[in-house]
Subunit: 336 residues, 2 copies
């Protein structure tokens, strides 16, 4: 067994280090927030609570796309473009597969080699853990820590095949979807609803032989987007093409994001959305705590399984069964 | 004040009447299930529970479409086609606007005049009421009552602009979306995600001057559907055109539905889906009961509002706030 040899700093050292923008201490603080040790997570929560009033206002971006779309390459080119503008950029990569394979995150890190050496950049893979709602909580805390450390743009990267997209969409100002021009089969890999969440789509690898296909895909996606209702922000999502290799479309992407922010600032959606995201975080966590306590309640779970068997055997209606379970919950339930 | 003069029958009269396929008694039993009187709904639940083991296996169809798409005209033509094949057809129309306007349902009823006179047909607008989850519960009970009364095809009609579609999707075997060929503006009226739920799309009013546009729309929708991932059933949704006036595309629609049922029967999805729908109904109702009890708990609600104000004032993190609320819930909460 490998012993956990990580040393914990004192609260004030984390606090001061983050305020000073110390990337090593920032990374350690995020590790704290990700830790399963109760004492670690309590310390992290305290830290976040203390840092919140001091936090810098950053732009929060979600970037998603299926594997193979060239996400890391695009984010590296985009990140470098931003640091050249003098912006401090943090990239938080959520990889739902990481707990199983342990491979892909390291792969991503290697591929963003240039950006990771940039003094203005901070790249951090986020371990998702197994806990329900764990990703969302940890990433939200990591975002707040990065903001307190003075980063101007926080990029949250997801793989675009799981459920993490909705969670990420609920913590960012702008949600960017990377797509690849290709056959219908490849397009079917896009998870339901992800296109509808996007504020913008960038068709990647729009260079060389691919250029024509990419331009066609741009037109197709633009058409498809027009089938959707406008989102609450009233922002009409745009579709661009980009080539990370030829450094094309990168500036345009940044321009699109800034257009969106100016738009949502003027119609007051930006601030309202951020407030709503805070309240959603609150609500979700409360429901999570409730569900967890139900899940851990052995007598409720046993009763539930018994009732499910009865339902499938047509011995009880689902309506009656739910009433029976709720009665059980009220009588003995939530303290178990 | 108008007094409720409706007379309640004895349990055995409802029971026997439904088994005999008596449409008047069926209608009265549905009224019972929709009633807000506790004694009524308890009787209805008892009735459903008693009828479940005897129930006939029917085909459950959801049909949705925006206002103006010609839903009633299509359903009338489709229903008549089925009764001519000797099928008993029940139409349950859910109109979320009915509690406010009281108008549109009557309108629908008048428009389905021919079908409503058909001895093999039964048409019933379902009042949605105001209760959370009310539509789903009432409609599910109405479906079971209709099945017990021997109907072969149960059509659940929704307006296609509200949230009722997901609920309906969760209680049917086949979900049909009616669309109109038209400008991009009209298409934006389609609520997000509804297209993705459809097992089939029928472009209505494909006749006369409209025919060319309808055929073009058919091609467009087919293309758009291919952007989506295949659903769990592995069924690739199809797009047809139909004209209720010229009685075209009606038989094809029925053929598509039967193809789907044969497909999902052979890959076992049909039965699994029905079982899952039962368990979902159970789960949803339990959660509903839980939420209702929280909503009615004044001290929890007050604490929640207090914490929300603190969150928006940056005085507490959402994470800390949710823990505080959960603590409150555990100490005094769920019996309030």
């Amino acid at each position: 067994m490998k012993k956990n040899t990580r040393k914990r700093l004192a609260f004030k050292d984390y606090f001061q280090g983050i305020i000073n923008g110390d990337k090593v201490i920032l990374a350690q603080a995020i590790t704290l927030a990700e830790s399963r040790l109760k004492s670690d997570s309590v310390l992290a929560e305290k830290l976040v609570a203390k840092l919140i009033p001091l936090k810098n206002v950053s732009i929060r971006l979600g970037i998603t796309g299926s594997p193979g779309v060239g996400k890391s390459t695009f984010i590296e080119a985009f990140g470098k473009y931003l640091t050249e503008l003098g912006k401090k950029v943090a990239v938080l990569a959520i990889d739902p597969s990481s707990t199983k394979t342990k491979g892909s995150i390291l792969g991503d890190k290697t591929r963003m080699e240039e950006l990771s050496k940039d003094p203005l950049a901070f790249i951090r893979p986020t371990s998702t853990g197994n806990a329900l709602g764990g990703v969302a909580n940890r990433t939200r805390e990591a975002v707040l820590l990065c903001e307190a450390a003075g980063f101007d743009v926080i990029i949250i990267e997801t793989v675009g095949v799981g459920q993490s997209e909705t969670a990420v969409r609920n913590m960012v100002d702008f949600f960017l979807l990377l797509m690849l021009a290709g056959s219908g089969d490849e397009l079917q890999g896009i998870k339901k609803g992800i296109m509808e969440m996007a504020d913008g789509i960038v068709v990647t690898k729009a260079d060389g032989e691919n250029l024509k296909k990419a331009t066609q895909a741009q037109a197709d996606f633009t058409h498809a987007l027009h089938l959707f209702q406008l989102p609450e922000s009233n922002w009409q999502a745009r579709v661009l093409t980009a080539s990370a290799i030829e450094k094309k479309g990168i500036a345009k992407t940044w321009e699109m994001i800034n257009d969106n922010l100016a738009f949502t600032q003027s119609n007051k959606f930006l601030q309202r959305n951020r407030q709503l995201q805070q309240l959603t975080w609150f609500q979700e966590n409360f429901e999570l705590a409730l569900k967890e306590s139900l899940r851990k309640n052995v007598s409720i779970q046993k009763e539930k399984e018994k009732l499910e068997r009865k339902i499938l055997a047509n011995e009880i209606t689902p309506l009656h069964a739910s009433k029976a379970l709720f009665k059980k919950f009220l009588s003995a339930g939530n303290r178990g």
